[in-house]
Amino acid sequence: MTRTLHLARWNAVLLARNRLALVYAVVLPLLPVLLMLSGTRGDPAVGASSITTVLLVVGLFPVYYNVLSQFVNRRDELVLKRLRAGETRDGELLVSIALPGAVSALAICALVVPLSQLLEQPLPVNPLAYAAGVVLAVIMFTAFAYWTAAWTRSAEAAQLTSMPIILLASLGPLGAALADRSETLSTLLNLTPGGAMSELVRTGWFGFDGPGADTVTLAFADSWAPVMGPLGIMAAWALVAYSLAARSLRWEPRA
């Protein structure tokens, strides 16, 4: 544990020294909050879509892309190989690389609660479900990052190899913007990681009851049933990504 935190601290130092990575990890995820300034002030429909976007961007940048590029970079530099020849264990290395981005992600997800209240949006109806969703999103995108790293040759290649996951995650929230979508399409989109995150925000934070709803109707007690679906879907994706990553992870650059 001490070793993991110690290594995570140095990973944070390295992250802070890389200007672009720092912007991706800290600044970029806060931008979607600005979406709340559009439309009618305090409209929960606008709030729900901007919080969904925050969660998506938090998952994709400080977590997914950041972990992917840090891991691939350290692997290319043979840093991982060197550390593994010492006392450090594999699990400690994996967690320490993920921690700085995860902390940034959790902090941003906490920060948007008072920020959105400042912009006249409601507080989360079910803060526990929201917190669980955030933690699951971080775990899920970390696992996606390590799986992608398995078939990413270099840090430059990550710009390309990250596209499938970025697209998969963005499908749900993008599809939500479609005016008329069929029942089947909706169901399918809700099964994607981004779709599940969108559903979680709509029901767990804004208390929307049903797909077309745009007013707060659910209370804390009756929000539990509708959040279970999206939480379960995110947990399932996390498991799939984790088992794929565990099977194919490489610690050394390809010869």
């Binding site: 070793r3 110690h6 290594l7 130092v13 043979l78 840093v79 991982l80 060197r82 020849a85 006392e87």
Partner: protein, 304 residues
């Protein structure tokens, strides 16, 4: 010299198979405690593949390995705190300074020595605030060695510690390695510099095609190999002196009895009033043994 009866590293019947070929083929090795053992071999002989198993970085395909009496994989936690490993290629984050790199490494160890002591010992004190990417190859290697030795290891495993270093840095590293033995540590290193092995090692293990083919002290290994006497130009030497070879503008005489043959040769030359130009006489060198081994055919299987 080898006072401890149990070897620090004991390998029996080690095999390592990759997809298409077998890099280590039934290797037996004892590394005596408190001494420097050099694992020598041409590129592809299987040195690094063998070290990886001893270091616990890769599992053996077959065979048994005990390191300080422990299993490198099953007893990982206990063993890693007592061993120091230097890989063939260094790996550091270019954006950290020398001092930060050592502090980072220090935090991963159970019993680290103070970073300042290491900066001093490795002559890195005035480079402490320089980023790793600005270091020379020799300096990077010194930082790497400092990491290897930071935990005061009982067993030190060094994979080509001086490859790519300038002659002065190499001498520094040699002094350091000799110092480790003087403090009671066991050192196992690989090298393809013969003079390095001769200067440094108490014991040599020569690897060829995945097996140990000769072991012993440098003198023991050279013993029994022919000495050579060479003369510039093509000279018709009497065949009864020994085997005569003419190549590269030299005439070379191979003999197992250097002193007698040389005396006979000089007497023969005086008798025939012959000037032997560029006359050289050499005891068997590790180089000649090594070259002879490298030329040996590989007996079983194919080697990709």
């Amino acid at each position: 010299m080898y006072t401890t009866p149990t070897p620090a590293v004991q390998v029996r019947g080690l095999r390592r198979r990759y997809a298409g070929f077998e890099a280590v083929r039934g290797l037996d090795l004892d590394v005596p405690a408190g001494a420097i053992t050099a694992l020598l071999g041409t590129n592809g002989a299987g040195k690094t593949s063998t070290l990886e198993v001893i270091e616990g970085l890769a599992p053996a395909s077959a065979g048994e390995v005990r390191v300080l009496g422990l299993d490198p994989i099953a007893d990982r936690a206990a063993l890693r705190a007592r061993t120091g490993v230097l890989l063939q290629r260094s790996g550091f984050s270019g954006d950290l300074t020398v001092c930060e790199t050592l502090r980072q490494w220090s935090g991963t160890l159970t019993h680290p020595r103070p970073v300042d002591d290491l900066l001093e010992q490795f002559g890195l004190a005035d480079r402490a605030d320089v980023r790793m990417l600005a270091l020379s190859g020799g300096e990077t290697r010194r930082v790497d060695l400092a990491c290897t030795l930071m935990g005061d290891p009982e067993l030190v495993v060094l994979d080509e510690p001086t490859t790519g270093l300038d002659p002065e840095s190499r001498r520094d590293v040699w002094r350091l390695i000799a110092g480790l033995r003087d403090h009671g540590a066991t050192v196992l290193l690989t090298t393809h510099y013969l003079e390095e092995a001769e200067a440094l090692a108490d014991r040599l293990e020569i690897m060829h095609a995945g097996q140990i083919v000769r072991s012993g002290t440098p003198t023991e290994i050279a013993a029994g190999h022919p000495s050579t006497i060479s003369v510039r130009g093509t000279v018709g030497l009497p065949p009864e002196l020994g085997r005569v070879v003419h190549e590269h503008g030299h005439t070379t005489l191979h003999t197992t009895t250097l002193q007698e043959t040389l005396t006979d040769l000089l007497l023969w030359a005086r008798e025939h009033e012959l000037a032997l130009e560029g006359l050289e006489a050499r005891s068997p060198s590790l180089e000649s043994v090594f070259l002879a081994i490298a030329d040996e055919p590989i007996l079983e299987g194919s080697f990709a």
